[in-house]
């Protein structure tokens, strides 16, 4: 197997009083789309910010390795990290309405990043910015480039954000819930755009979402997170149709069926009882307090993710009795 573009190993993010992401490992290959799925509070956004080394104030990476393109981002010094950010590793955020600076034209904000990393002249950067706006399919880019963000719709702003992110041809693009704040009709357009750019630019895409519908259509591989841990990983067909972890099963049962000929009227959506807050202070499997299949054994230690079939990992002690744990991934 070739070395993946991004290889996160045993990542733990710590606040002074809590560890919202624990022992997380996953990888993204060049040109691959990996989706991280989980409910609010599962640590997916923090993971993304940790990769960018933009964790909020008190949070820090306490253990783990983030191998990206030959460097360990977890220990890289800030000046070197600044050369990575926006250039080889880029990120777009959930809130397009507030993610652009209101007092600068969108052109200025694209030119910003181009001039920083590409050493272009003012005119060349502007010409490139117009190309980029065209690339993300903003109509009439020559005129739009001098517009301020408040003149643009949410979808347009997210396109501008994408233009900024891909401006320097990053190897990996992190998209943190890029469509959550957008109209349903715009969501598919934006995801198609991201997918097309991934293919054309040959970059890896780390898609963070809570929308299982998005996963099925756009991801090559899915990592399901719960309470800061990876609970299951596999290709979308397997995760969406043959999940092994009770949490993934619960998530699917709580989603509207999107299969052909089905309707939300076919049956009630099931909830996962309890709240993710119950995972706090849990010694064993974090999902145990809410798990319908919980066994007495589950409270001892957090279960490791093990291979349940080729390319399919799950972290559940009920599924993986101790004798099967030789195959630890």
């Amino acid at each position: 197997m070739t070395v993946p573009l991004l290889d996160v190993h045993d990542l733990t993010i710590a606040f002074p009083a809590a560890r919202p992401v624990r022992n997380l490992s996953f990888s993204v290959a060049g040109g691959e789309t990996v989706a991280i799925v989980g409910e609010s509070g599962s640590g997916k956004s923090l993971t993304a910010l940790a990769l960018m080394r933009l964790l909020p104030g008190a949070a820090r990476i306490s253990t783990g390795r983030i191998s990206f393109d030959g460097q360990d981002l977890a220990v890289l010094r800030e000046p070197a990290m600044r050369k990575v950010r926006g250039a080889r590793l880029a990120m777009i955020f959930q809130e397009p309405m507030t993610s652009l600076n209101p007092v600068l034209t969108i052109g200025a904000q694209i030119v910003d990043v181009l001039r920083l990393h590409e050493n272009l002249s003012r005119q060349a950067a502007r010409a490139r910015a117009i190309e980029l706006l065209d690339l993300v399919r903003v109509a009439d880019p020559h005129r739009r480039i001098d517009d301020y963000p408040h003149r643009l719709s949410g979808g347009m702003r997210q396109r501008v954000m994408i233009a900024i992110a891909v401006a320097c041809g990053p190897r990996l693009l992190i998209a943190d819930e890029p469509t959550t704040a957008l109209d349903v009709t715009i969501q598919a357009q934006v995801l198609d755009l991201l997918d097309g750019l991934r293919r054309d630019l040959g970059m890896g895409l780390l898609l963070i979402t809570h929308d299982l519908g998005v996963v099925g259509q756009w991801a090559d591989r899915v990592v399901v997170m719960y309470a800061g841990r990876k609970v299951e990983e596999g290709v979308p067909e397997v995760i969406l149709h043959r999940p092994r972890h009770p949490y993934t099963e619960g998530l699917l049962a709580a989603s509207p069926r999107t299969a052909e000929g089905s309707s939300y009227r076919d049956g009630l959506l099931r909830e996962i009882r309890g709240s993710i807050a119950s995972a706090a202070g849990e010694q064993g499997c974090p999902f145990r307090p809410r798990c319908p299949k919980a066994a007495p054994d589950c409270g001892h230690a957090p279960p490791p993710a093990v291979v349940v079939e080729p390319g399919h990992l799950a972290a559940c002690p009920v599924l993986n009795p101790p004798e099967a744990r030789d195959a630890v991934a």
């Binding site: 990575v84 250039a87 990120m91 652009l100 209101p102 910003d112 408040h150």
Partner: protein, 328 residues
């Protein structure tokens, strides 16, 4: 329509809208002044040491003070409509000449004080915000609290004691060295030296206000999503702070600065008196003592013009700083 024409239209419209405001200010001030006990005739009589009922009556008749209040107002307004601010019997010259003689001095003082306040206030506020909770923040906090609560005239006197008397670095008052014969650059430098202490005194309170406001604004803006975007681009801390944070944080500060111009003018009365600065503030102060109401009304009218014009300029500045405020 070009931006220049739009700006011009806005200015004209705002200017027209200011006319009723100015009229209301004149009338209100007129009646307020009537509430003060005594009039110019009393002051003149008091200064001369003796006066008879007869001479007082003559004096009042000559100054127009024997007319009913409404008639006096009418006379003042009709004068004003003809572009005249009236005549000052004390200075024996038209009020307009008197005021325009003094206006440049006050405007210079005002400009320099606001400049000090803005530059120093924003700098201190930014330093505080960047070090929030640590010792530079706490130290400047104490300093601003001090500046905020100590009266301007006292600070002015203390500055004179320190810089003029003890150290002898700066002059203690006046606008220029009398009979120095300076010309050209020497004259400008001499005037600047005279301006430093009064404008600093006038600005200290506002330095404190802007520093505290800037601190709050910078800390709020620094939390915004677009700042994270800027950092995600790989921009350095300085570029993020200057280009993305400070520019947005300046919006509330400029709003407040515009509203404070009136307050600075008020402070000028005290500071000009302490530093014997030949400006409008001291003229107003003396006019009050002498019940020279024509002069006082003229100063107040002109001050309201200054405030209105300054606010219009601040509006334009804001539209330039923040594209979301489009000049309509």
């Amino acid at each position: 329509m070009t931006t220049a024409r739009r700006v011009l239209k806005t200015l004209v419209r705002n200017g027209l809208a200011a006319i009723p405001t100015v009229l209301a200010i004149v009338i209100l001030n007129f009646f307020l002044l009537q509430l003060a006990p005594g009039d110019a005739a009393d002051v003149i009589a008091g200064e001369s040491g003796a006066a008879t009922e007869e001479s007082m009556r003559q004096l009042r008749a000559r100054l127009g003070l024997d007319l009913p209040v409404v008639a006096q107002l009418q006379a003042y307004l009709s004068n004003l409509a003809q572009g005249s601010l009236g005549f000052s019997p004390r200075y024996n010259m038209p009020v307009a000449d008197l005021i325009f003689q003094r206006l440049p001095q006050t405007l210079m003082l005002l400009g320099m004080a606001l400049g000090f306040a803005f530059v120093l206030g924003v700098t201190l506020g930014t330093v505080m915000a960047l070090n929030a909770g640590r010792w530079p923040d706490r130290m400047i906090s104490v300093l601003t609290l001090l500046l905020y609560s100590v009266p301007g005239f006292w600070i002015g006197l203390m500055l004179i004691v320190l810089f003029s008397i003890k150290l002898g670095w700066l002059p203690s008052g006046g606008a220029e060295t009398i009979a120095s014969g300076f010309t050209g650059l020497d004259l400008v430098l001499d005037r600047l030296r005279h301006m430093i202490l009064p404008s600093l005194t006038l600005s200290l309170f506002f330095i404190a206000v802007y520093a505290r406001l800037t601190r709050a604004a910078v800390m709020e803006v620094a939390e915004q999503d677009f700042v994270r975007t800027a950092r995600a681009k790989g921009l350095s801390g300085f570029t993020v702070g200057f280009r993305h944070v400070l520019r947005n944080a300046l919006l509330p500060v400029t709003t407040l600065a515009g509203m404070h111009i009136g307050g600075v003018l008020g402070g000028a009365v005290v500071v000009e008196t302490v530093f014997s600065w030949p400006g409008l503030g001291r003229l107003a102060f003396e006019a009050v003592l002498r019940r020279d109401y024509n002069v006082l009304l003229g100063v107040l009218l002109l001050s309201s013009f200054v405030v209105i014009i300054a606010n219009m300029l601040v509006d334009l500045l804001q539209a330039w700083l923040d594209p979301r405020i489009e000049v309509r």
